[in-house]
């Protein structure tokens, strides 16, 4: 059976903005930004994808692939929740709804994408690569009188042409490849590190091949080992679709480490990818949620120029349009008084 190789599909990020973030934005707007429309750095985070078992049907329900913005997003020393990956983004707040609507979104998006691509393709040290690969853009208009916040996220991701394809074996559970012991060991390495690594390289221990060690992505430069697995904290819980961060990771690998992942004698890049989803308690049942798969890219074009990038978030109706957080019911004193009777 020679079916078409399956294209790797990625679960896009969906933004989850905590109300406390809007409170912080309100404060920032009134006390600091005032009429300034300058870009402000914000910190968000994502954690490994979770699914929950529906008690009535017994099905596993995947939860959203969330990028979370909290109340401390504007603080320079923002703490991310445990086992979460920190992302730094750019916020641009507009003073009027008209300016928000007329904003030159392609320009903003391309500027960020260019920055990201520069850093990806430049010869700079790969140690802080997670900061580069997980950037995002957020434009907002805060209607402070009505407690309404219009916002639009963009998570730029570089589209590969032709697209990455998945090996016929597809995404598999990790138990088939790793022993329970090895998995627990990997998990403890991920969860005990002070900063959860967004991306990592998994290598088997030289002395004991059943043990695996986690190395930073930058170690790819010095490694000669052929059996390399590249892992990342996967915010998606969907069994067949890894999360958005993998897209830029693959773009990065294809750009920077092209030769390392090219199988000798062929024109294909082959990367074994571990989608790590088990940052919380060790599964009691021994059922791990992480997935493993091999993706490949046929090497047809050079990647000197920046590939096109995608990633504007869709609104709940599935359209490319801004979202609205209406906090009046939770903030407006008049509405609260009504509701409290």
């Amino acid at each position: 059976m020679t079916s078409e190789p399956q294209i790797v599909q990625f679960t896009p990020f969906s933004s989850l903005v905590q109300p406390s973030f809007w409170h912080s934005l309100t404060k920032l707007k009134i006390d600091v930004l005032k009429l300034s429309q300058d870009e402000v750095p914000v910190t968000a985070s994502y954690a490994a994808g979770r699914s929950v078992t529906d008690r009535e049907t017994g099905q596993d329900v995947a939860l959203g692939c969330n990028l979370i913005l909290g109340g401390d997003a504007f603080e320079k020393t923002a703490q991310v929740p445990p086992h979460s990956v920190k992302c730094v983004g750019t916020l641009k707040n507009y003073n009027t709804i008209e300016e928000f609507k007329d904003a030159d979104k392609p320009a903003l998006f391309n500027k960020l994408a260019d920055e990201m691509w520069d850093e990806i393709s430049s010869a700079k040290d790969a140690s802080d690569v997670s900061e580069i690969l997980n950037r995002f853009l957020l434009i907002t208009f805060a209607d402070l009188k009505k407690y309404r916040y219009y916002y639009w996220f963009a998570f730029p991701a570089f589209a590969a042409k032709p697209a990455w394809t998945l090996d016929p074996s597809g995404w598999q559970g990790v138990e088939s490849t790793f022993t329970q012991e090895a998995l627990s060991n990997i998990q403890s390495q991920i969860t005990t590190s002070t900063n959860t690594p967004a991306f990592f390289v998994l290598l088997s221990n030289a002395n004991d091949p059943s043990r695996f060690e986690i190395h930073p992505l930058s170690s790819l430069e010095s490694l000669s080992d052929q059996d390399i697995t590249v892992g990342f904290i996967d915010p998606s819980a969907h069994s067949d679709h890894p999360g958005w961060p993998l897209r830029n990771l693959l773009a990065f690998l294809a750009s920077r480490f092209r030769t390392r992942f090219t199988t000798p004698g062929s024109q294909h890049l082959k990367v074994r990818v571990l989608c790590w989803r088990d940052t919380e308690a060790v599964p009691v049942s021994g059922k791990w949620k992480s997935r493993l798969g091999t993706v490949s890219l046929s090497q047809s074009q050079s990647t000197l120029s920046r590939p096109s990038a995608v990633g504007w978030e869709k609104n709940p109706q599935g359209k490319l349009a801004p979202r609205l957080a209406d906090l009046a019911p939770m903030m407006d004193p008049a509405r609260l008084a009504d509701q409290a009777v």
Partner: protein
Amino acid sequence: MHALQRNYWAVRDYLSPVLKESKFKEHGRITPEEFVAAGDFLTYKFPVWTWEKGDASKARDYLPTEKQYLVTRGVPCLRRAASLAYTDADEDAERLLSFAEGSAASGAGDEWVETHTGRTSVRDSADNAGVIDDIPDLDGPSDSATNAMAKMSLASGGNAPAGGDTPDLDEIPDMEEELEEADEATAAPPKVPPKGTAAIDSESSRANLLQVRTYDVMITYDKFYQTPAIWLLGYDENGTPLRPPQIFEDVPADHAFKTVTIEPFMHSTSLQAALVHPCKHASVMKKIIERMNNSVIEDQRKSGTSSPKDKDSKKKWSLKRLASGTKDDKSAATGEEEEVEGIRVDYYLVVFLKFIASIVPTIEVDSTTSF
């Protein structure tokens, strides 16, 4: 009127003394120190829970600055409370009444209550052996009751969903204006649908039936009632904060607007959240703790692994443990042993979550099922 009441609560909270003496076995109340101890245990065992310091200006001085309240984020909520299906609702409702109001009401409930208050162990535990098995019993009555109430109630449970989910009218034109420009703006993204969004949305279960909401759940310490209090902040499946009527969809009708109300969150200057009012927590917790405690003693007698202890000695023991201040290490070390020695105050929040799970049955706050 409500503001007045709220101010009264604030003053009362300010004036009421900090509980010093451990009362958790007698009254179901805990001291701030015990709250911290139980919170440490909870965060140790279940890392989804973390301590938060909250807004500095709202910090309570009887709690450590770094441990003002507990929070867990993204708690899933698959269904609305009104959609839960039960049988024998009426009978169970009676039990709930008695459960909530002490020993006031109906026959079935009275029996249930009295068995536990009156005597120590034997029959209780024989009927409901095992700590875990008790919990569904507690959930059951209140769930069913709520369903019964939801069916009868015309107002809160039934009407809210229809209004709640439709976006505001003035929201829509704005978005459509924006849409055209947006399409231009992101000429590349048409690639996105085949690569991701569309495929996933149609496959994922939320497109079919379930609207998976998520909740941020906070546990604070209520100084006046000397119990923990639960706060809820909800998001719909798109990450949009829920409005109060939507939150009340997840609260069974007999709790909404009564035990659960929207209040200013006590560790923030501006945030509003749904509060499960803690006025009855202590008495309920007392009952649950007694129940669990008794069955623990019974287990211990049956197994005969160690000598039975009476309540007093255990109380002293838990007090002593508290004073020593090493809960974390010990609870980590003695996984199995603690079962034998009865309910410790460290378990308070674990038990508390099970109780809360009965008030908001569709919100899966109780991640502690391995206990």
